[in-house]
Symmetry: D2
Subunit: 438 residues, 4 copies
């Protein structure tokens, strides 16, 4: 976790104190159910909850000190709770193994992290939608291979992002379901020393599903799918970030990240206004993605479990969720405040001398009866002249003057093929598909 790329709500999920609170809740709920089952006296759970009702401070340092001796985190925690609660605490953890607590806690943390991420995406979607509608009909050039292709609108570009993050939202919801399970099944998952109903009870109380069959741990294919999904979401952030970076290039400058008064772009070059937020997002996407491979490598634990996954998760659990939360929020801010320059978009659109309409002419020539190959050559020979003139010549004028073209199409017919609105007639259909009917 790098503090400058972290926000408090997500970070809090991964603090030791938050973890210990979840541990306690799991242990106390389990003790309660064990009391109902008659395995331990009901007084056990009562003592725990009574203490909890005093809203006790979790003394992380004290627990750490015990762990330094026992070299076992859960035992250290249980010892510390026993010190606070007294002898009734001995009924805690009956028939449970450490992983029952640890893994279910991780599920709670990842589920809570998912909730924040989903809320982040909702905020991002709202920002994108607002700007998309604002620029629904703002003409801009569409580019393939970085080369001008055909006109589109800036709102349509944002509609693409909206559709992509809508998919990402659905993926995060599915990823949350992957990891929101509870396992309290004992040392090798046989429930030998604890009734399955305890698992069911705790799952219900903690807002989780039961894990149908566990080993000592919840199977790691679930976590692999979770982190792989974060990697996909990060890649979608990268895509939108790269788009903004391109638009802000000096030669393009169709949009810019908001630049606050007093901000210095460069220690050396006072004129610089750099797309540093989206460059940063490009890097953060790499960071989030770097969790995917170790999460995949974590799946093949030996037999009923080995602990190789644990250290990995201590890194990627916080890092991937905290960084993605930060990245989604930063992207929301970028989109929300993005400076958009429609005049520059139009200027860029015009700079190719009408070449962007070449396909339409090609099509029209074919419909006028020429063979496709002949049409292609006619358009290309004129298009190349415009291209080489760096936009000084006009494709429309050249075509009008080309006798082979004028033999099949009149000047008026040609002019009709250079109308920008022609390209936008389906924008409404696309918006309805993406944003739904208004």
């Amino acid at each position: 976790m790098v503090p400058r790329y972290a926000r408090p709500a997500m970070t809090a999920i991964w603090e030791p104190e938050a973890r210990y609170r979840i541990w306690f809740e799991i242990e106390a709920h389990a003790t309660e159910k064990l009391g109902e089952l008659g395995v331990v006296p009901p007084s056990g759970a009562k003592a725990l909850w009574d203490w909890w009702a005093t809203n006790p401070v979790i003394d992380v340092a004290a627990i750490d000190a015990i762990e330094a001796v026992t070299k076992h985190d859960v035992i250290a925690f249980l010892d510390w709770v026993a010190q606070q609660v007294g002898p009734e605490a001995r009924f805690m953890h009956q028939g449970m193994t450490s992983s029952d607590v640890l893994d279910t806690t991780l599920s709670v943390q990842l589920a809570r992290a998912s909730d924040l991420l989903i809320a982040d995406i909702d905020a991002l979607l709202e920002a994108i939608k607002r700007r998309a509608i604002e620029h629904k009909y703002t003409p801009t050039i569409g580019r393939s291979h970085g080369i001008h292709a055909e006109p589109t609108t800036f709102g349509k570009k944002l509609a693409e992002a909206y559709a992509e993050f809508t998919r990402c939202r659905a993926r995060l919801v599915a990823a949350r379901a992957e990891i929101a399970t509870c396992a309290i099944s004992g040392a090798v998952g046989t429930f030998a020393n604890i009734d399955p109903s305890v698992e069911e009870y705790v799952a219900d109380k903690m807002g989780l599903e039961i894990e149908p069959v566990s080993t000592q741990v919840i199977p790691r294919d679930r976590h692999a799918m979770f982190f792989a999904t974060l990697g996909v979401v990060a890649s979608s952030i990268e895509r939108l970030a790269v788009e903004v970076r391109h638009l802000q290039r000096t030669e393009v400058l169709e949009a810019e990240e908001y630049f606050s008064p007093g901000q210095k772009g460069s220690s050396a070059m006072p004129h610089k206004r750099n797309p540093v937020l989206t460059e940063n997002l490009t890097g953060l996407a790499r960071v989030v993605r770097s969790a995917v491979t170790p999460a995949l490598e974590n799946v093949a634990l030996w037999h009923e479990r080995d602990i190789s996954h644990s250290s990995v998760e201590r890194f990627i659990g916080p890092d991937a969720t905290i960084t993605l939360d930060f990245a989604l929020a930063r992207m929301t801010s970028v989109i929300d405040k993005l400076l958009v320059y429609p005049e520059r978009m139009q200027k860029n659109l015009d700079k190719m001398g009408g070449l962007v309409h070449s396909q339409r002419v090609l099509l029209a020539l074919t419909q006028a009866g020429l063979e496709r190959d002949a049409s292609y050559r006619l358009v290309q020979r004129n298009a190349m002249k415009v291209w080489e003139s760096d936009g000084q010549l006009s494709l429309l004028e050249l075509l009008k003057a080309d006798p082979e073209v004028s033999a099949v199409m009149s000047a008026a017919e040609l002019e009709d093929k250079f109308n920008l609105d022609y390209h936008f007639k389906a924008i409404d259909t696309i918006f309805a598909r993406v944003f739904g009917a208004e």
Copy 2:
């Protein structure tokens, strides 16, 4: 693609001829709809389908030869079809761009590949289920950290695999839905030169959903999610493969891959019977996973598209699906024919002198009134003696002889804690959760 790790049905999906056949169908369906819309004469589609009805051979070499000149694959294909069909073919591809065909074709290929992979998983699930039920109550030692923990059953281990691959199946179904979309939206996705109803028509004919908004291409977050999912499935294969490899170790030998008569395990050591299939599956899992990162890197195409994703997909499209198909089938065969040795399982289970029952004793001592910490120390001091005797001493006998233990538990009570069936009482519950009620 490495031929030895490939099966014909999956490989066929990726052959040039298969690709061209899909191209044709997309073009012909589109032409048909364009005919309905009055954009081209209905005779165009008719000519195409009439030729198609002759079941023509696709001359891959001829198309390649044209491409060598035009340096454009779709144009080469269209030229070749035009040579076969005649002038009516000029109505093909009206208002479409190459990517409309290429990307929709990739969708069809990946959807078909998904269908095979889902069928593979169904076969694997069936094999696992059969062996799980066969060994529902075959006792075996559960291991954490490679160390004996508590008893479980071999059927329960297989139930874990069944549950995991059931999840993988659901993930594959979701992955299929991710990539089964059709985009026929033109050079920058505005439908400028083609009506959205053509996309809808072709999607329906090809068994796809429409892509709500595309650029020049179908957005690559879809493909990233697809390949990430294959990586997760591969990791689950690795997990089961590693389990078999462990079970076949000389010192463990609880199960073995089937060894056919005449097979030589080693050119030098005639006695060797090696788990080469599951070692191979471990490697193949790495291969499938290696598609994940490039697929994630493919998402951030520039503006309305660049073509950097294409070469990547030429590798990982076939490689990941063909290899995973092979791996699933190989795993099915391994499980189906796995030699299982219950006697050896029992022998291994017994070799620790009863240490595997230590937790149960610990729990019983606590319930008999000792504090947890005291119980732990009592069990541990006897357990350590057994451990150091390499299983020659019996934990039960040592406990009976320990005065601090006998002070709270009788010999009969102790003996009751060493009953194996105690561990299996929830197996039926687990099987019902995993396989459903019978």
Copy 3:
């Protein structure tokens, strides 16, 4: 391996026949040395070499047929050779294990592949150097964050690439040394059944170093380092490819990939001239890099070896080397034939109204006695006006007219700060560092 991204010389290294030829040479050399040592009769090696001198065709299909029965590739090969050579062939492979042959063969293949890659880099370096010298003083704008920064020269940009690929060359030489070792040490690397002098003899004959200590195999940290190095080289290719792609953008257009007559950039848009080669190289870099992670995962083989690495290497051995070879050659061609447009470079350089000289002015103001912060604000307030004018205003004129500036610097002094040559005075030093003294 994807044929369109493969060149014959590299592909040939990975053909079955090439592999069998190396196998034979290793076996024959070993038999020869065993003959010298008196372990087998000298007639063994003689029979093998006599047959080899007839330049026999390797019947790959026949060997495959035997392997289909024995399920062991080396035994199948030995059987086939025995069929050709006769009874003297029984002295082959004495005391050896399959991996002695297989792993040493892989070393030979990777060493040969390295030689081709190093030659590829040499060709690339030559092309870069030629173009760098050609454009040593071609002014162009340097950009950070995609935003105009300060002037540089196009030759200096190419000098960066030259230095980078010079490093890549050194890395490839080191990577070659990593994997060019020979192990003939028996089933667990103890030389129990074969004298270490055989290994030394074969190593020398095959142009390899001995592996100081092997298990059954050559340790895979060597191969991991090899493939990691290819991944770095691929990333350097990506960097140069991305540079070209940026330069070819419509709005920038300072350079272009060579466009051959008759080439069609788009089936729909006849005017398109797309940087498809460098986009393709961007994708191929991802492909080569995808070999790195599985190669790292291959290191931790179990005990004296498991065979999980083998299937991985069947993919990444050919794929990574063939693809990188192709990519280096394609990059060489791109640089060699790159269309460079100095006029456009100058035009872009001028379009910011002199903002690119802002740092120099800042420095001069500080040297003229202003505090840094004051200087910065003075420059920035004028620079921002130029920026917002889209290059219509001139920084020089604004500064001249700013009374706080003119208070410390005269018009002539200011004009001197806008001289382009000022930026190029160290170009010669840089060239001497990179290319050496002429």
Copy 4:
């Protein structure tokens, strides 16, 4: 960075204070050289060094507060230093750009980190060597595919690790050289505003090489190579860790991690002694490796630089070096204190009824005149009986009783083939290769 996997010396390198100290030194050395060159008054450097001689505390919070306003870290630092030093500080940073400082600082940090890592490896090598010599002739079974193969010695296994980490040491030395460069070349690397001799001077003072040609930054192929190398070293740690984990398995138990008194292996199972350190190292290897892909993705910065690499390096710079430092130290401790059980090694070696000698018999039969295939079948048919008896039958006795065998080899000749020392005759040669002549 996860504190439990961090050691102070490495962590200190990455603290803000350490970074600021390096920043200061670079700025002060540069100012000194600029004074020599007459660009600024010599009093500038003097003021800086005078202040530095007072051993001032770096007020990180104060610098952070300035950065919160300026949003630029280097400017914030310069402002703070100026507050401390007074007006003479304005001569700092003349002609430099932030990246000159930031990138050279990263080089210093990575070089220092490399020094620690190299020292770590030296300590690990020493521990491995000591244990290797201790167990030079401790017999143990060599295993391929997890299956008993032929005898080896435990010292020879450790010699493999020694050779591997010797290679890793050399790789780290090379990796250090990759990143130990200094760039002070200005905004686009042209030295427009600063003389190249400043770079040379600072490089020399900071113990770095000059960067022959830089852009705004040091090229990231260097860092990619650095982190890729860390990934290889991590994989070698994983290999040794996996070996220990296998040896500690209950059924194998040939070695064990040291188990301190009072340590609890499991909250539930008091008898457990788990290889948790090496399992942890397996996970930490995945963590270090996860830095490789983002480092490779960082290479292709746009033009003269974008800042996407920066956030990535804020994570992987500390995480990869701190984690690898911790892992190397932990591995050193594991090897140093490893409990080795030679009796158990012998017991395991004997448990296959002599099958481990099968290859030697095979060879002897061939040398006695049988064809290889016949020999193979003879050995295999007896070996299979032993195998199926679970080591109860003796291969030697079966061979003696097999008439086809006794027809060519006497009982005494057979017995000679079962001598363990036969396998160890080259151990001395191997040790001389690995550890050098004593």
